[in-house]
Subunit: 207 residues, 2 copies
Amino acid sequence: MEGLLLVVSGPSATGKGTVCRQLVNETDVELSVSATTREPRPGEVDGVDYFFMTEEEFVKTIEEDGFIEHVENFGRRYGTPLSYVKSKISSGRDIILEIDVQGAAIIKEKFPECILIFLLPPSIEELGARIRRRGTETKEKIAQRLSKAQQEIECIVNYDYYIVNNEVEQAVEDMKSIIKAEHHKLCKNVSDQIINSFKEEKTDALS
Amino acid sequence: MEGLLLVVSGPSATGKGTVCRQLVNETDVELSVSATTREPRPGEVDGVDYFFMTEEEFVKTIEEDGFIEHVENFGRRYGTPLSYVKSKISSGRDIILEIDVQGAAIIKEKFPECILIFLLPPSIEELGARIRRRGTETKEKIAQRLSKAQQEIECIVNYDYYIVNNEVEQAVEDMKSIIKAEHHKLCKNVSDQIINSFKEEKTDALS
């Protein structure tokens, strides 16, 4: 049975990272490993934290259509390697990645069988409170972030599932149910496999 | 939020009844109540066990297109009342009904938003063993039932989910996950509701 590619988006400060880390700790789901051209930090391991690439390797991989999606941030490149995702999934592992709404749309296009999950804050008010509690942003900056959150939430129409992150434990449980249900979903392939496995049994011999 | 109409099929002796009853005992899901023209047995309550109807009432309901599906068995009629299902669902209750593959196909046509779940035995061999353990059937009859089971399993292509009933507890847990996931599913309506509820909040006042 194939694994799942789970893609999680949601406004910043909604708690995507915490929810994904806890899910990975409590289940067999693995965090997807991205490729990057930035330097490894002390303790970071190639193939575990990131696939570290030179600029040349990264560009070559783009040209070979080897990324599901890729972006550039402040001169550093990040991408999701297609071959890595495919090999994980075909070996039956579920992998999860956190990405913004634009990235998620690109992944869905290239990988229609992925599961898009949108993590929502309980409310904009609560999101504002969470950002204020961090104490790192001006009043103006917070207003900007909240208005951006509202815009991002409009992209929810493209997603398969939503989860409200009221409490991390509950959000992780919701995620687990979605994953379990998806593993019980029928499609043409799975149906054919089931029908064939039951057909192989001879009823005469079994009565 | 609307409730779900869950429809469970599977070969006879797979354990549909046991799984559905346990689900109903452990959750808020309700067993759907059918209409019938047969006489109430001692202790049976109208509107709880069945909606008891006269032949005339039943035929009138058919003519008014008031059943999602209906059948006749040995001169007795059984049907799933449309208005009952609609009122349960719109009040937010999940209801479940057990039905054969033909009945399920009719329900899906009349009620496309229903969730079709196929309950499978672990194998035809195990299904045969379960029927033999009951000790009520001839060798020939068992072979017929197993061959019918294989035919029914071919209808799995029309279903949304499958569950293997290896152990009742596990099958009920799988059912719960499917229900929970379905309540987190996004469609146009749900997306619009979410977008609107977040839009109503003014970001300026909250920063």
